[in-house]
């Protein structure tokens, strides 16, 4: 009987050890190799780089054209909650004139992700004056997401002035490569349609890359004028004209849904592709109307895709 307490002790220790082991297993997140083929939650939004020129240069305070000029002392005087936003704005504001100082400002941000986002902003802001430095800044960003955004930003910054260089930057935009081509071509089309048409007509990349190229031209031009956009779509590769008119519908709907639908009616064979674009644009804001438009489409392919997207 003298051994009974000892056995109890052994059992208690074992129970404790096993309890600890299973407790840790269920209490800690599983560790392992990251999965690429598992289902992903698709973000409803994407951090498209801000359009260049959105912030006033230092010293532009009070001219009514942008934010007030910031200085380190202004940021330091702010409440801790606002300081990160202030440092980011200061870095962007400083970047073109003094990139090194802008990168030093980025270091003051409180999380590693904010710091690399700031570096991405600096890279984009430097691009119009120093492409080499801008690319070096992007290449030095360790996070794939912000490295891609940085190259995307350079592409946007130079879309209007150097189309070939701008579209080439998209190649390094990682997950945003196709988004980049769409937006760079769109920005380009607004000021230099022949360049945009020439780039899309090269039919580079996979099917999705080629489709989105024409979609971008149609969408951006439609934000200004749907008739002008439709004329541009007529220059698209025949098999992608429907894609371009979908972009026209989306871009027009961003301004005025009723007017966009009225304009779509004038687009003949592509009227339903245009309406399809309008319907897709309504998904987040007015799903009931989106469904009604989808159901009204006569073009079988557009109708099928449109209805599938309603429930996606």
């Amino acid at each position: 009987m003298a051994s009974f307490p000892f056995s109890l002790l052994v059992l208690a220790c074992l129970t404790g050890l096993l309890g600890l082991r299973f407790g840790l297993e269920f209490g800690l997140p599983a560790l392992g190799v990251a999965a690429l083929d598992a289902p992903s939650e698709i973000s409803a939004t994407m951090a498209v780089p801000p359009k260049p020129g959105g912030l006033a240069p230092a010293g532009a305070a009070g001219n009514g054209e942008g934010d007030a000029a910031l200085t380190p002392s202004v940021c330091e005087a702010m409440s801790p909650k606002l300081q990160d936003t202030c440092w980011q704005a200061l870095a962007r504001q400083t970047a073109a004139a003094d990139p090194e100082e802008a990168l030093r400002v980025c270091v003051r941000l409180t999380t590693p992700e904010l710091e690399v986002e700031c570096q991405s902003d600096v890279g984009e802001a430097v691009a119009p004056t120093n492409r080499g430095l801008a690319e070096d800044i992007c290449k030095g960003i360790p996070m794939v997401k912000w490295r891609g955004q940085c190259h995307f930003g350079i592409g946007l910054a130079l879309a209007e002035t150097d189309p070939e260089y701008a579209i080439a930057r998209c190649q390094d935009a990682e997950a945003f490569r196709t988004f980049c081509r769409h937006d760079v071509v769109g920005e380009m089309a607004m000021v230099n349609l022949p360049a945009a048409v020439a780039i899309c007509a090269r039919e580079e990349g996979d099917t999705l890359t080629r489709k989105t190229c024409w979609h971008g031209a149609g969408k951006y031009l439609a934000r200004r004028d749907m008739t002008e956009a439709a004329s541009a779509c007529a220059q698209a590769t025949p098999s992608w004209q429907a894609q371009c008119f979908h972009g026209v519908g989306w871009g027009g709907a961003e301004r005025d849904v009723d007017q966009a639908l009225a304009s779509c009616a004038a687009f003949g064979d592509y009227a339903d592709n245009c309406r399809h674009g309008v319907a897709n644009q309504l998904k987040r804001g007015d799903p009931t109307r989106q469904l009604a438009i989808c159901e009204s489409l006569q073009n079988t392919e557009a109708r099928t895709k449109c209805l599938a997207f309603v429930t996606q």
Partner: protein, 60 residues
């Protein structure tokens, strides 16, 4: 006393053997998912890209 120690050691050994067997029979834990925007271009399937792009108005 010696027998008690041996018995205890045997129980521990059995417990670890049992645990190791049980653990080897378990399926591996599901690996964490990398968000789409944190992948390289090559790490995305065309379907993933297309769905993402459609949602944001970049393709029909």
């Amino acid at each position: 006393m010696r027998r008690m120690v041996l018995a205890g050691a045997a129980i521990v050994a059995l417990a670890f053997a049992g645990f190791a067997t049980w653990r080897s029979l378990q399926p591996p834990p599901p690996p964490p998912v990398i968000p789409l925007d944190e992948r390289t271009f090559e790490q995305m399937t065309e379907k993933e890209r297309e769905d993402w792009m459609r949602k944001l108005g970049y393709v029909d």
